[in-house]
């Protein structure tokens, strides 16, 4: 099979103005540490950072296109929602340590002319890997800026040639309760599944991430391959994908199966449509102290708002 795929060019807006925000990040860090120290113990003269583990930690002074500095590698890999391991965000990294990500295959099928099962190494080789610095907005109202590496989902979908009946894309996470002890919890309808409308999936922002910070993905971030849909709440960005299926009907998703009134199929980041339990108007960027207003479509409105023309987003939440 010939590989006709062309990689999507990086938009100029994504090219990082490195020098501009170099100092800002240090300032934020210093401000955070000082402010929080003052809050808890005015008497302590200084805060000493705990010694971190010896492994070299990649550093980046990059920013997203809005000028937000990326979060540290340490924060991104130690504060994770990955209920397949545990509901404790700090506990995921430890429990995911021995998760096997090789060999790994991703089955792409359903309503397509050329179904194919890809080995992870094929995906890395056949699709040009590029960096995308994306904001990740969790439905729990915290957010991060993450330098992902990977390729556009559209490229993979085009390669298998969806038929005209294909309207939605369904994704499924690996199901290995022996390695992922959270999957033994009977209170969740495992395996994790998510979905996108086909036109959403074909949007250039929809991304399959294979790495982060120039390194291959670690298990707690969804290794070896995970979806990143930056204009939607984080739970849409399904991790450790083994199956991608083109379907004609809107697929079920794990969270909307649990609580349909709280988690809709679309789950676009929208400060005007509140979650019944917590407001979505503001968020806390990890590493910063005060809340900041949440942006419509997480700041990606220019690229994605047209997907929802004429739709009532309060109904299609």
């Amino acid at each position: 099979m010939t590989n006709l795929y062309k990689s999507v060019p990086v938009r100029s807006s994504e090219i990082t103005p490195k020098q501009v925000y170099l100092s800002r990040r240090d300032f934020m860090k210093a401000a955070t540490v000082t402010a929080s120290a003052a809050l808890l113990a005015a008497c302590a003269p200084s805060v000493t950072e705990a010694p971190k583990n010896a492994a070299p930690v990649p550093k980046s002074t990059a920013t997203d296109e809005l000028g937000n500095p990326v979060n540290t590698y340490e924060d991104i890999t130690n504060y994770n929602n990955y209920y397949e391991f545990t509901t404790d965000k700090q506990g995921v990294a430890g429990l995911a340590k021995d998760f096997k990500t090789s060999p790994w295959t991703v089955e792409v099928g359903g309503l397509v002319s050329k179904p194919k099962t890809f080995g992870i190494e094929d995906l890395l080789k056949n699709f040009k890997q590029e960096e995308r610095i994306y904001r990740l907005r969790c439905v729990e109202a915290w957010s991060m800026v993450i330098p992902w590496e990977g390729f556009a989902l559209a490229g993979l979908l085009k390669m298998v040639e969806p038929t005209s009946d294909a309207k939605y894309v369904r994704f499924e996470t690996v199901y290995r309760p022996e390695e992922m002890r959270g999957q033994k919890d009977p209170l969740y309808p495992w395996p994790y599944q998510e979905g996108l409308r086909l036109d959403e999936a074909m949007n250039d922002l929809a991304f399959l991430a294979t790495g982060m910070y120039g390194e291959p993905n670690v298990a707690q971030n969804g290794a070896p391959i995970r979806l990143v849909v930056p204009w939607k709440y984080g739970f849409k960005s399904i991790k450790s994908i083994v199956k991608i299926e083109l379907v004609s009907e809107q697929p079920a998703t794990l969270w909307s199966a649990i609580a349909p009134n709280e988690y809709g199929f679309y789950s676009n980041v929208n400060p005007e449509v509140d979650h019944p339990r917590w407001s979505q108007a503001s968020e806390r960027r990890i590493g910063e102290l005060s809340r900041k207003p949440t942006l419509m479509f997480n700041g990606y409105g220019d690229q994605v708002a047209s997907l929802y023309d004429g739709m009532n987003l309060a109904v299609n939440y």
């Binding site: 929080s36 809050l39 808890l40 113990a41 302590a44 805060v47 950072e49 705990a50 979060n71 340490e74 924060d75 130690n78 504060y79 209920y83 509901t87 965000k89 700090q90 439905v139 729990e140 915290w142 919890d185 209170l187 969740y188 309808p189 969270w255 199966a257 649990i258 609580a259 709280e262 509140d274 019944p276 339990r277 917590w278 407001s279 108007a281 503001s282 806390r284 990890i286 590493g287 102290l289 005060s290 809340r291």
Partner: protein
């Protein structure tokens, strides 16, 4: 020699009550909190407040079942500790989390059921904490007990606040509902044990059981030569 003025129960209670605050400060200064430290502080102070409330509600059933009255004397301290952690919890929410942005805060608190029940529970705790001292007990007389029975109404609200803070759905019995459910179940049992006919039945049952225990026998021991 003067007798040591504290009982083991008292010591254990005070150590346990302060432990969470000490641990939080320790974790903060040794970098053990997560990348979202404000949420950690909110969750841990909240959960400790509920746990203390559960222990407070356990005192009476212990007395009913085991005729051990010392826990009854610890209720005031447990109640005040509950109030202390609830206050820290609310201050962290309003100040650290929302930066005292009142308009945003008030909008949140009146709109979200989770925060409405949490706020009601906290407001109800205030008069209980203030009137927990002897002078108020004397001054209020019979009404003091009536006032403090508000805790039976407040405790389920706190459980609801906890449950609604988690991603889950109690109606479909799915999601992150296990811990709040356990708290709810325990508090439910402790409250049921206070309903007068049930309390009476439990007391007479336990009196019979205790009488069977050789060590606790009320008759004087017959010493055998």
């Amino acid at each position: 020699m003067k007798k040591f003025p504290y009982t083991p129960l008292q010591i254990a209670m005070h150590i346990y009550a302060w432990s969470e605050l000490v641990l939080l400060i320790f974790d903060f200064f040794t970098g053990r909190l997560s990348a979202n430290p404000i949420q950690d502080l909110e969750r841990r102070t909240g959960r400790h407040a509920i746990t203390l409330l559960v222990l407070l509600l356990l005192c009476t059933p212990i007395n009913t079942l085991f005729k051990w009255s010392e826990p009854l004397k610890r209720r005031r301290a447990l109640g005040l500790y509950t109030f202390m952690y609830a206050t820290i919890h609310v201050i962290i929410f309003a100040d650290l989390d929302y930066g005292l942005a009142w308009s945003r805060l008030i909008k949140e608190v009146v709109e979200k059921p989770r925060l409405i029940v949490g706020m009601i529970a906290f407001i109800l705790l205030i008069p209980l904490a203030i009137t927990s001292f002897d002078i108020w007990k004397k001054r209020l007389g019979k009404n003091w007990k009536r006032l403090h029975q508000v805790v039976y109404f407040l405790a389920p609200l706190v459980v609801l606040h906890y449950l609604w803070s988690k991603k889950g759905n109690i109606l479909s019995f799915q999601g992150e509902i296990f811990k709040p459910m356990i708290y709810g179940l325990i508090i439910g049992i402790f409250l049921i044990m206070r309903i007068p006919p049930i309390k009476k039945a439990l007391a007479s049952f336990s009196a019979r059981m205790l009488a069977l225990l050789p060590g606790k026998n009320q008759r004087p021991k017959v010493s055998t030569p």
